[in-house]
């Protein structure tokens, strides 16, 4: 067997995917009340266009686009608006949201289905993907249509579909590829057509051999990758798949590449072929803090508590609630927070799974330097940040950090390296904005 491709650096956190990878996706009906975030995508929040008491139908626009990098928000259900305002959100304490009392769970196309998309203009399809509110389903939630509209003069010649799912515990993408390969392939073909790319491929880590075989048999070009975190990060994935390196501070499209997640592909297929808005997603509920981990399909706005209940409820030693994976996911303080378009997983970790929170002094072992996928010296940036030396932090490349958490994971002293570096990034950017330079 040939050696699989990968990127340099990285680490191997225990996958823990066996908890949920063999569980079929279970469809959860919308609960009685949903809390729909107006800011699930990266960019400006959408502006609410409904008020309490309004009746809404499935797929109705309840928040309008606000600026270029923004998306409309659709109602995932039919019902009555209870309130428009702030609500607890997974990625921040509070965020703008529309709370809807659910009366109708019927899902019908709100746009004209375009099964003959091959004969249509690319711009028409891009508009559809935008109007359906499709954003990156891998967790970053970047509006998909933006990635499909490269600036003048940039030629895209490669489309890589991200089936890596490198975060431990998460199996939603894996299950999607196994249970619904048709939608993934359809979405990939739509994206390839729009971008004018002839030969798209899917990067999948070899810990998902069944998905690799299935998609290969369906005629897809699969690039098997050695298991390593953070291979699902855009730049690392591109490096692993084709050896091209995105310039520091640049974007994949600078080297002619677009990366899209498998979940995004399925959402694109639904939007274009079926005329459906992006209002639901597949999410993994796992960790030893829930009794019966699994993969669930639910509408956005479903409270996390409903998902946890679907996964058998909390175990007695449930200690931490996380939106996303254990490496980059955010701890949530309440399970009232809703699922958003970027909720790739909900983890409930038990006391034995979470790391010791105590932080010791850096012993300069260099493990973080060896593991950093961006080739930085996290320990040195962190030290500079600890002492408020933002110039030195910048000099050591703090701005190149993507906060993947690999350094903190391997650190024997348990240092919060990512947070020190993020702090430096904020300070450097603030200084740059205020014109003083850093």
């Amino acid at each position: 067997m040939s050696r699989e491709r990968s990127f340099s650096g990285g680490t191997h956190p225990p996958g823990n995917k066996e908890l949920s990878r063999s569980r079929e996706i279970v469809r959860i009906p919308a609960p009685d009340t949903v809390t729909v975030s107006l800011c699930t995508h990266l960019g400006a929040p959408s502006t609410p266009v409904v008020k309490p008491g309004d009746t809404v139908t499935f797929g109705q626009v309840i928040g309008e686009r606000n600026g270029f990098i923004s998306l409309p928000t659709h109602s995932p259900v039919g019902g009555k608006v209870l309130s428009v305002g702030e609500a607890p959100m997974p990625h921040r304490r509070m965020g703008p949201a529309v709370v809807i009392s659910v009366t109708d769970r019927q899902e019908t196309p709100v746009f004209e289905p375009l099964p003959n998309w091959r004969n249509l203009q690319a711009s028409l399809i891009i508009d559809r993907i935008r109007d359906a509110g499709v954003c990156g389903m891998g967790g970053a939630c970047f509006p998909t249509f933006v990635k499909l509209s490269p600036p003048q003069g940039k030629k895209i010649d490669m489309l890589i579909i991200n089936g890596v799912e490198c975060e431990p515990y998460l199996t939603a993408d894996h299950r999607l590829m196994l249970e619904n390969p048709t939608d993934v392939i359809e979405g990939m073909n739509i994206l390839a057509m729009v971008l004018g790319v002839k030969d798209p491929c899917i990067g999948i880590e070899v810990n998902k051999p069944d998905a690799i075989t299935l998609l290969r048999n369906a005629g897809v070009r699969v690039v098997p990758l050695a298991v390593s975190y953070p291979q699902g990060a855009e730049k690392q994935l591109i490096d692993a798949v084709c050896g091209r390196k995105v310039p520091a501070g640049g974007l994949p499209l600078d080297i002619g590449v677009v990366v899209q997640n498998v979940g995004t592909c399925a959402a694109v297929a639904h939007a274009v072929r079926d005329g459906m808005p992006s209002v639901s997603r597949i999410t993994t509920v796992s960790g030893r803090g829930v009794s019966n981990p699994g993969n669930f399909h639910c509408v956005v706005g479903t409270p996390v508590s409903v998902l946890v209940e679907a996964a058998g409820g909390y175990t007695p030693d449930a200690e931490r609630l996380i939106s996303g994976g254990p490496m980059m996911g955010m701890a949530m303080y309440t399970d009232e927070a809703p699922v958003t378009k970027g909720t790739s997983g909900v983890l409930v970790l038990s006391g034995s799974e979470v790391r010791d929170s105590a932080e010791g002094p850096c012993i300069r072992c260099g493990k973080c330097v060896d593991a950093c996928p961006v080739n930085l010296c996290p320990s040195l940036i962190a030290k500079a940040s600890e002492y408020g030396n933002w110039t030195m932090a910048k000099d050591y490349g703090a701005l190149n950090c993507m906060a993947c958490g690999t350094c903190s994971f391997v650190c024997p002293a348990g240092r919060y390296l990512v947070q020190y570096i993020k702090r430096a990034q904020n300070e450097i950017r603030a200084a740059a904005r205020s014109g003083k330079g850093a």
């Binding site: 956190p13 609960p31 009685d32 431990p168 730049k235 490096d239 995105v246 520091a248 501070g249 640049g250 409270p303 508590s305 409903v306 946890v308 209940e309 200690e319 931490r320 609630l321 996380i322 254990p326 490496m327 996911g329 955010m330 701890a331 303080y333 309440t334 399970d335 009232e336 983890l347 799974e353 979470v354 790391r355 010791g360 002094p361 012993i363 300069r364 072992c365 260099g366 493990k367 330097v369 060896d370 996928p373 080739n375 930085l376 010296c377 040195l380 000099d395 490349g397 190149n400 958490g405 903190s408 994971f409 391997v410 650190c411 024997p412 002293a413 348990g414 919060y416 990512v418 947070q419």
Partner: protein, 373 residues
């Protein structure tokens, strides 16, 4: 709908690798044990007492410092003081009075480590600075305490027979003034110089005699039997440095536990072998690399002190520079310096250069292009 439940917040990542500072220090301590077993075998149970006292002194000194500086005393549990205590003891001869390693350990912890802010902040290797302090303060005790292996007593002129190093016919009784292989090697350099001077003075007979002595001792040092003795540890030396075999066993354990990164030890040992061959002999390209690797503190230093995380560079290129630099300095001191062994001072000197090395070996970030400035 289920009732809302609250959770404590925490920062990502939420999981971590199993390695902890304490685990690392425990592994290093375990890896040092085989060498202690060899020392007990060759030098007797006294070395256990010295090592034990040294460790106790290091831990007590650390406790007192933490107490005095009003830091949490449980910091001592990270195990780094134990490692320093063991290494300090390994760096003194087996015949020193009991209070010498105690004093050295206390100095290592108080002055070299805690005065700089404790674990992670010290600039030089504490155990090595402790040794340097002892060498400077008690030079006689530190160089007269050599014991011959398996003799359980001070090394004397007649002990080489038991030591496994063959006595050459050419060796006269007054020849052996030092009790370690490196002391003998240092003698040969002196004889070489003496021979040259004698020749210039017209005393060709005296020159020839000195040459013969020097080459005779060299032949003895490079003999198969000497190599075997050096490899097993059947030679005079500091407590923990003599048995290459046992030290390598410990190092293999550390590699298996992924505690040791390979660049530092390999480039250090490689540099010692290279420069030892280059100028460690009577003339250029005449040195015996194997002898230089196996003798003195090179194996102990190479696997356990050049690799000290705190005082060596974190960058990959930096670790290579450190290893090569320390190897070069070790050989320069052995060949031209005032001491027969240069391992510990070479590491101390490179420790001082570490911040500079880190600064000038900053790696290029992913996708970054080298700037022409």
């Amino acid at each position: 709908m289920p009732e809302a439940r609250r959770f404590e917040l925490a920062m990502s990542p939420h999981v971590s690798a199993t390695a902890t500072t304490r685990r690392v220090m425990t592994d290093v301590s375990i890896a040092l044990l085989p060498a202690l077993a060899a020392a007990v075998y060759f030098f007797g149970f006294r070395v256990l007492l010295l090592t034990g006292l040294s460790v106790v002194a290091a831990v007590l000194a650390e406790l007192l410092c933490l107490r005095f500086m009003k830091k949490p005393v449980n910091i001592v549990l990270d195990g780094s003081a134990v490692v320093t205590g063991i290494l300090l003891a390994y760096n003194v001869p087996p015949g020193v009075p009991w209070w010498l390693p105690v004093l050295g350990s206390a100095f290592a912890i108080v002055v070299a480590k805690q005065a700089f802010g404790g674990l992670g902040n010290n600039i030089v290797n504490p155990a090595l600075l402790g040794r340097a302090f002892l060498m400077a303060s008690f030079p006689v005790l530190m160089t007269a305490g050599w014991w011959a292996p398996l003799a359980n007593g001070p090394a004397g002129n007649d002990s080489w027979d038991q030591s496994g190093i063959p006595s050459a016919d050419l060796l006269e009784a007054d020849v052996i003034t030092g009790a370690t292989p490196l002391n003998l090697l240092k003698q040969t350099y002196t004889w070489d110089t003496g021979a040259t001077e004698a020749l210039e003075g017209g005393d060709s007979e005296g020159a020839e005699a000195l040459r013969r002595k020097a080459s005779g001792v060299r032949a003895m040092l490079s003999s198969e039997q000497t190599r075997l003795s050096l490899f097993l540890g059947r030679v005079g030396g500091c407590i923990g440095e003599t048995s290459a075999l046992m030290l390598v066993l410990g190092a293999l354990y550390l590699f298996a536990r992924k505690v040791l990164e390979p660049r530092l030890p390999l480039f250090y040992l490689g540099a010692v072998a290279l420069f030892g061959w280059l100028f460690g002999g009577p003339g250029f390209f005449q040195g015996d690399p194997l002898f230089h690797l196996l003798s003195g503190g090179v194996i102990l230093g190479g696997f356990f002190m050049v690799t000290d995380m705190v005082t060596t560079p974190v960058t990959k290129t930096g670790r290579i520079i450190f290893g090569v630099g320390a190897g070069l300095l070790t050989m320069v001191i052995r060949r031209w310096g005032g001491y027969p062994e240069g391992c510990s001072y070479s590491i101390l000197l490179m420790n001082l250069a570490t911040p500079l090395i880190d600064r000038y070996t900053k790696p290029l970030a992913f996708g970054e292009v080298k700037k022409n400035d």
